[in-house]
Amino acid sequence: MSRILTIAHAEWRLWLRSRLAFGALLITALLLTSTSVVTALRMSEAHHARIHQQAVAEATFLSQPDRHPHRMVHYGHYVFRVPPPLSVIDPGVDSVTGQSMFLEGHRQNTAMFADARASAELGGFEDLTTALAYQLFLPLLLIAIGHGLIIREREETTLVPLLAQGVTGTELYAGKGIALVGLSLALLLPLAVMCAVAVGRGAAPLASAGVIGLYALYLLVWCSLILLVSSVARSRSLALGILALVWLGTALIIPRIGVESASSLIPVPGKIETDLNMQAELRAVGDGHNASAPEFRQLQADLLAQYDVTRVEDLPVNFRGVVARAAEADLTEVMNRHAEERMALEAGQARFAASFGWLSPVLAVAAGSRALSGTDLATHHRFLREAEVVRFDFVQGLNRVHVEQLAYGDDINRNIDAEASKRTRMSAENWNVLDEFTFRPAAATERLARASTPAAMLFAWLLMLAAIGALAARRVQP
């Protein structure tokens, strides 16, 4: 053991003395730190801004004057997706999906205003985040520093004197491995600090620990790969070439191929297409504003029979409200079905693309990181579903006011004069049918469960590389 540590220690000393390694290290540390700070500032600013916007939206809704309840249905409401605390590390889909959504009667809107639309186009890597720095660029540093770990000893003919001291190949391999792993762990420090900050702001400690663990596992995969290549390659240049190729493939090419194949094998119709296809079904439900539409005759007949009256004017409830409520329920059923179909397709696409993580640890760690941070597609879908619940509840709450508190006679005569119109205005106290909305990602345990497949992929990589490494270590020869 002491020999292994001696070898690791000697490697660290070399890095500190080599201007190249030291420079690369310094630049990386700087990059990680500055990216972490920038990402954290941006996301915490977004966090506060959206909490504030949500509060303003709710206050505005509640402060609306007395009105016809259906007017409030159309007045609508906004919900904002507050970024979860761990988004300071991985903002995930936050910048590419809209963060706010307008909720109104009879319609499901899409989330609006993705940041990506207002940002400058500079080639695709400009949205640098802490997560991206760790996923894509830290491995580059490890390659630059670690590719020569073992091959360097061979090329500089120090391998023979090393082994002649009685050091075994396995000890050498382990020592070099510890050196590189130690460096990786040190470089995890900014991430750990950000996780601690996130916990301080209410992130689940379990999920935060999961993030650190996931990235540690990921960097271990790279360390094992670099070590293995460094021990089997015939020259330093070859080792560097092979590792650069692996990086190119796993970081830039395979993920994109995964995306392309997923989107061509599992096509998801766009929103406009879905809307257009939905039109006929929506028409079959009928226009809830028009209580005399033929679609609602059955409803009218049932209601008259139930209350044993012959005219809608004699019903104890407001028939126009009843129609609005029934139509909303039916419409929502249709819209939800289509929305669920779309989300299922998207989730299927994402799963398919994520299965390329077996080929690319970069893809695996990215998926796991988003899942743990609560910034993945599933979380976005959760937001859409929760927003829909809010929408349906407040619309139906208002419809209930319409049904129960607004007299039918007043309602149909509301446009006769100002006085009649005033009678249909319900008290603003009724607007408290709106629930407070704070978006929270799924529980930490659920997120950990979602990250388990990516983690398993990384673990499989690590096991494979470690097993081959153990074989290669025994064959370390001058």
């Binding site: 002491s2 004197p161 002649a164 050091v167």
Partner: protein, 238 residues
């Protein structure tokens, strides 16, 4: 019991026989020299004793035990000075020595290091300098110092005098004799006939992997007959 024993060693490297049926043995306190031209199989013999190469037939024994049985025991018993020894350029002499010695689990203090460096006559002012600034001879001196400091019963030295100036070679030869008298067994590889004759108890002449002759120092003489060795060497080289 011989300290080093080569029993009919036959070694192949990438399909080529580089050592054919080589046998010799060494007793404690002896100095032997392997002499021969390029590709004679001298370094191969050393690497076989260290277990870096495995014989296809025959066996190498260190302190009575076959190397293939316990490679690390063999390496523990041997201090090896590789040909054109390279140590780490980014470390100074002390750091290099400490590093390698700690890997060999040999404890050494600064005084012991200085004593060894004194014995190889490395200038005191150079010892704190990074070895990338050293000349070839200075590097060789540090490597020799390392071999001494290992305090192993056996030393295998591959071209130890390469790069040394004549005065340093004389110093080195004296050093080897001192080590032998202190009971250490030294096998060195060289193609310097004159030096070998002065330092060795016995010279093995290798040619194309075969042992083609052995020359002993006659008792009472301080060196082997240089003329005879030269003649044999030249005959094979021709």
């Amino acid at each position: 019991m011989p300290v080093l024993n080569a029993k009919a060693l036959t070694v192949e490297r990438s399909g080529q026989q580089v050592l054919k049926d080589v046998s010799f043995s060494m007793q404690q306190g002896q100095v032997h020299a392997l002499l021969g031209g390029n590709g004679a199989g001298k370094s191969t013999t050393l690497l076989t004793f260290l277990g870096f190469l495995t014989p296809v037939s025959g066996s190498a024994h260190v302190q009575g035990r076959a190397v293939s049985e316990n490679v690390s025991a063999a390496r523990q018993a041997i201090a090896y000075l590789p040909e054109a020894a390279t140590l780490y350029g980014h470390l100074n002499a002390y750091e290099n020595l400490r590093y390698f010695l700690s890997l060999a689990k040999t404890d050494t203090d600064r005084r012991a290091l200085d004593a060894a460096l004194d014995r190889v006559a490395l200038q005191a002012e150079a010892r704190e300098m990074r070895m990338q600034t050293y000349s070839k001879g200075m590097r060789q001196k540090v490597a020799i110092a390392m071999a001494i400091l290992r305090e192993t019963p056996i030393l295998l030295l591959d071209e130890p005098t390469a790069g040394l100036d004549p005065a340093a070679i004389d110093d080195f030869n004296r050093l080897v004799r001192d080590l032998a008298e202190a009971g250490r067994t030294v096998l060195l590889v060289t193609h310097d006939v004159y030096g070998a004759c002065h330092v060795a108890d016995r010279i093995h002449l290798l040619h194309k992997g075969e042992l083609v002759g052995s020359f002993d120092r006659p008792s009472g003489m301080d060196r082997i007959d240089t003329e005879a060795v030269h003649a044999a060497f030249a005959a094979h080289a021709a």
